[in-house]
C-alpha cells in the first residue's frame, strides 16, 4: 500500500523545526513504527525515534499522530492509508524534544522517582514464610500494574501544560500501584506526600490521560482512587480534598450542591474575604444563589440514609472505584457482545485435525 506521512523534524544543533513529507510503499500489515523504519532505511537515515520491543511492552515508541499520543507499534496504518490521509507525526508533548521524535524522558522519570516507586514493606530482613496476597487485594492495583511508562498519558495532560511541576498521570498512577498494594506499609506517608501541591488535587480531570493510555491503566481513575484513599485516611487538609468533601456534605443535607458556601468551605473564611469583590460581581447577575432558604431536593432523606448505609458496607476508599472496573473493562474487550468465531475471517488459521500419533 502507498503510505504518506508528514513528520515534524527537529534539528537540535541548528535549533530548527521543519515539517517534511515522505511517501513510500509499505506492506498492508505495517504499523506506524514499521513505516518509520522504512523511512529511516530507504529515504532518510537521519530520522530519530525510539523503539525496542515492537510489541507494546517496552513503552519506547510513544509519539503524536495528528496531535494525539500513540504507541507507534500499536498503530496500524492500513485504514489511514486506504482513506488517503496524510497524518502528521510529531514528538510527545509536555516533555523537551531531543531530536525529531525523541523526547527527553528525564522530567518524566524524576516524577516517577518522586512517588517512591518501590515497595516499603516495613521490614528489611525477609520474613520466614511467603506472604500470600488474595486475588481480591491484587485486583485493586491490577490496572495500575499494567503501566509500561511510555509517557502517552503525560503528553496531553492539561494540568501539566499549565503547571510543569504537576506530578502527572503516570507518576500518580504509579503511586496508586503502591498505595493499593496490600504488602506496603507506607500508605499514610505516601498519601500525605501525594496530597502536597502539584499532586493528587492538581488534576483538572480533563481525561486526556485516560483517552491516550495504550494499556488500559486509566490514570485519571487511579488519581481518583488516591483521592478516595486520602479522604478515607483523614488526609484532607488540601483545598482540593475540602472541595470534594463539600459535595458529599451538600448531597446528604440539601441534595444539591450548596454552591455559595463552596468557596469558604474550600478556601477558608480568610481567603474567601479576598473574593468579596469578585463575588459581588457574580451576585448582581444572580450567579450567587442565596444559601438561605436552601434549595432542598425532595426526599433528600433517602440520600442521607444511603450515605449512612454504604458507610457500613466496607467499600470505602478506592474499593468504591475498583468494584466497577470489571464492568468497565467489558466496554473495551467485548465489542458487540455477540459470539465470536476465533478461527473466523481475519483471525488465526484453523488448526488441521491431528491423528492420535500427532500427524496432521
Amino acid at each position: 500500500m502507498q503510505v504518506a506521512l508528514k513528520i515534524w523534524r527537529y534539528d537540535p544543533i541548528a535549533g530548527e523545526r521543519a515539517l517534511r513529507e515522505y511517501e513510500f510503499d509499505a506492506p498492508e500489515w505495517a504499523t506506524l513504527l514499521d513505516c518509520l523504519d522504512i523511512v529511516k532505511d530507504r529515504i532518510d537515515g537521519t530520522l530519530a525515534y525510539r523503539k525496542s520491543c515492537r510489541m507494546m511492552i517496552c513503552g519506547s515508541c510513544g509519539m503524536r499522530m495528528n496531535g494525539a499520543a500513540v504507541l507507534a507499534c500499536k498503530t496500524r496504518m492500513y485504514d489511514i492509508a486506504q482513506a488517503g490521509e496524510v497524518p502528521v507525526i510529531s514528538a510527545m508533548g509536555n516533555l523537551p524534544i531531543v531530536k525529531d521524535l525523541v523526547v527527553d524522558m528525564e522530567p518524566f522519570w524524576g516524577k516517577i522517582r518522586a512517588v517512591t516507586p518501590w515497595l516499603e514493606p516495613g521490614y528489611t530482613e525477609p520474613v520466614e514464610k511467603e506472604r500470600v496476597v488474595s486475588q481480591e487485594r491484587m485486583d485493586v492495583i491490577h490496572k495500575e500494574s499494567l503501566c509500561i511508562m511510555c509517557g502517552c498519558c503525560v503528553s496531553e495532560c492539561n494540568s501539566m501544560e499549565a503547571d510543569p511541576d504537576f506530578l502527572g498521570p503516570a507518576a500518580l498512577a504509579k503511586g496508586m500501584r503502591f498505595v493499593g498494594d496490600a504488602r506496603d506499609e507506607a500508605t499514610v506517608e505516601r498519601l500525605q506526600e501525594y496530597s502536597n501541591p502539584h499532586g493528587i488535587w492538581d488534576c483538572t480531570r480533563c481525561y486526556f490521560c485516560q483517552e491516550r493510555c495504550p494499556k488500559g491503566v486509566d490514570p485519571r481513575d487511579a488519581i481518583a482512587k488516591l483521592g478516595a484513599e486520602a479522604v478515607r485516611h483523614g488526609i484532607d487538609s488540601d483545598m482540593g480534598a475540602k472541595h470534594a468533601k463539600w459535595f458529599v456534605t451538600s448531597s446528604k443535607t440539601t441534595g444539591w450542591l450548596r454552591e455559595t458556601e463552596l468557596v469558604p468551605k474550600t478556601q477558608g473564611i480568610a481567603a474567601s474575604i479576598k473574593e468579596v469583590k469578585f463575588a459581588m460581581g457574580l451576585l448582581t447577575h444572580g450567579k450567587v444563589p442565596p444559601p438561605v432558604p436552601p434549595h432542598v431536593a425532595k426526599d433528600v432523606g433517602e440520600a442521607r440514609a444511603l450515605y449512612d448505609l454504604v458507610k457500613t458496607q466496607e467499600r470505602a476508599g478506592a474499593a468504591g472505584i475498583v468494584q466497577g472496573e470489571k464492568a468497565l473493562s467489558r466496554l473495551e474487550f467485548e465489542d458487540d457482545g455477540g459470539e465470536r468465531d476465533p478461527y473466523g475471517e481475519g483471525s488465526f488459521p484453523k488448526p488441521l485435525p491431528v491423528d492420535k500419533d500427532g500427524n496432521e
Binding site: Y207, M239, F247, W256, G301, A316, G320
Partner: protein
C-alpha cells in the same frame, strides 16, 4: 414528540438558571417533551467519585432509577460532568449483575425505587445534533444567526473518556459545528476547543486553572469569534465569570460573550429574551444581540 426524563443537575438549578429556562423553552421546538426529575440529587460532579466513590455510585443509581420510573428510556442531561458521572455509573451497573443487585438492595432499604438498567443517558447536544432531533432543529432555527462567527467549546467530559461517552471522535468532534451551521452561524476552528476550561480546580488551584482557561478564550478571540458556545454549565461559568480574573491576572480584557448551547439554538429559533436570560451573564452578550438585530 419524544418524551425524555430531564436531569438538570446543580448549576442549571442554581447559578446557571438561564440554562434550564432556555432548555425548557426550546425543548418543544426540537421535538422533546421533558419530564423533570424532582426527587434527585447532585451527581457528585466527579468530586464525590473522588471522595466517596461507593456513595457516588449509589447517588447516581438513584437518579437513574427515578428516571426509569418515568417510563422513558432516555435520561437527558445538559451538563458534561453529569453526563460522564451518570454514564459511568450506568455502565458499571449494567455490566455487573452482582453490583446492580447490591446497590438495588441498598436503594430499596432506604425507600428509593430500584433500577433495572433500562435508561440511556444522553446529553441534549447529542439529541439535537443527529437524527430526528437535528432535522427538527434545522426547521426550528428559522431566524438564523446572520453568519455570526461562533467558537464551539466542547469541554472535556462530553468527549473523554470516549469509551464511556462515545458519541463522536474525541479528537475531531463536529456536533457543535453541525449545529452552528444549521443555525446559520459560521463555526470557528481553534485547537483548544477540546481542552479543559480548568473549572474542576478553579477553587483549589486557581493559578493552574486560569492558565488552562485563557487558552480557548484567547484562541477564539484571535480567530475572530463573536461569541463562544458550550454544552456545559461548568465550562460556561469559568469561561464567562472568570474572564474578570484573567483581566486582573494578565491585564487582558477579552470581553468574549459565552452562550449555553440552548441559548445559541434559542436565538436562532426566536426565543424571547425572557427565555434566553442573557442578563444573567457576567460578560455582556449585547454585542451579539446587536449584530443580530441589524
Amino acid at each position: 414528540m419524544r418524551t425524555v426524563a430531564y436531569y438538570k443537575g446543580c448549576l442549571a438549578s442554581l447559578s446557571a438558571k438561564e440554562l434550564d429556562i432556555s432548555t425548557q423553552a426550546l425543548a418543544p421546538k426540537v421535538g422533546l417533551e421533558l419530564i423533570e426529575l424532582e426527587r434527585v440529587t447532585c451527581c457528585g460532579a466527579g468530586d464525590i467519585h473522588e471522595a466517596e466513590p461507593d456513595y457516588y455510585l449509589h447517588l447516581n443509581e438513584r437518579i437513574l432509577a427515578y428516571a426509569e420510573e418515568t417510563g422513558s428510556d432516555t435520561l437527558m442531561t445538559v451538563c458534561n460532568v453529569c453526563t460522564l458521572n451518570l454514564r459511568q455509573a450506568n455502565h458499571q451497573l449494567r455490566g455487573d449483575e452482582a453490583l446492580l443487585e447490591r446497590v438495588n438492595a441498598n436503594l430499596e432499604s432506604v425507600g428509593a425505587p430500584s433500577y433495572s438498567g433500562g435508561v440511556d443517558v444522553q446529553h441534549f447536544l447529542w439529541l439535537v445534533s443527529a437524527g430526528d432531533g437535528y432535522e427538527l432543529l434545522k426547521d426550528a432555527a428559522h431566524k438564523g444567526l446572520k453568519g455570526l462567527k461562533i467558537a464551539p467549546f466542547y469541554g472535556c467530559q462530553i468527549l473523554r473518556p470516549s469509551k464511556l461517552l462515545g458519541f463522536e471522535d474525541p479528537d475531531r468532534p463536529e456536533s457543535l459545528e453541525r449545529i452552528i451551521v444549521a443555525c446559520g452561524g459560521e463555526p470557528i476552528d481553534y485547537p483548544a476547543k477540546i481542552k479543559c476550561c480548568g473549572f474542576p480546580i478553579i477553587q483549589a488551584r486557581e493559578e493552574v486553572a486560569l492558565a488552562e482557561l485563557i487558552q480557548p478564550i484567547e484562541q477564539a478571540k484571535e480567530a475572530g469569534a463573536d461569541a463562544m458556545v458550550t454544552p456545559c454549565p461548568l465550562c460556561h461559568l469559568s469561561l464567562d465569570a472568570w474572564q474578570s480574573k484573567l483581566l486582573k491576572e494578565t491585564g487582558r480584557d477579552f470581553q468574549m460573550p459565552v452562550l449555553h448551547l440552548s441559548q445559541l439554538i434559542g436565538v436562532a429559533a426566536g426565543l424571547e429574551s425572557s427565555e434566553l436570560k442573557f442578563k444573567r451573564h457576567i460578560v455582556s452578550v449585547e454585542p451579539v444581540v446587536d449584530k443580530l438585530a441589524v
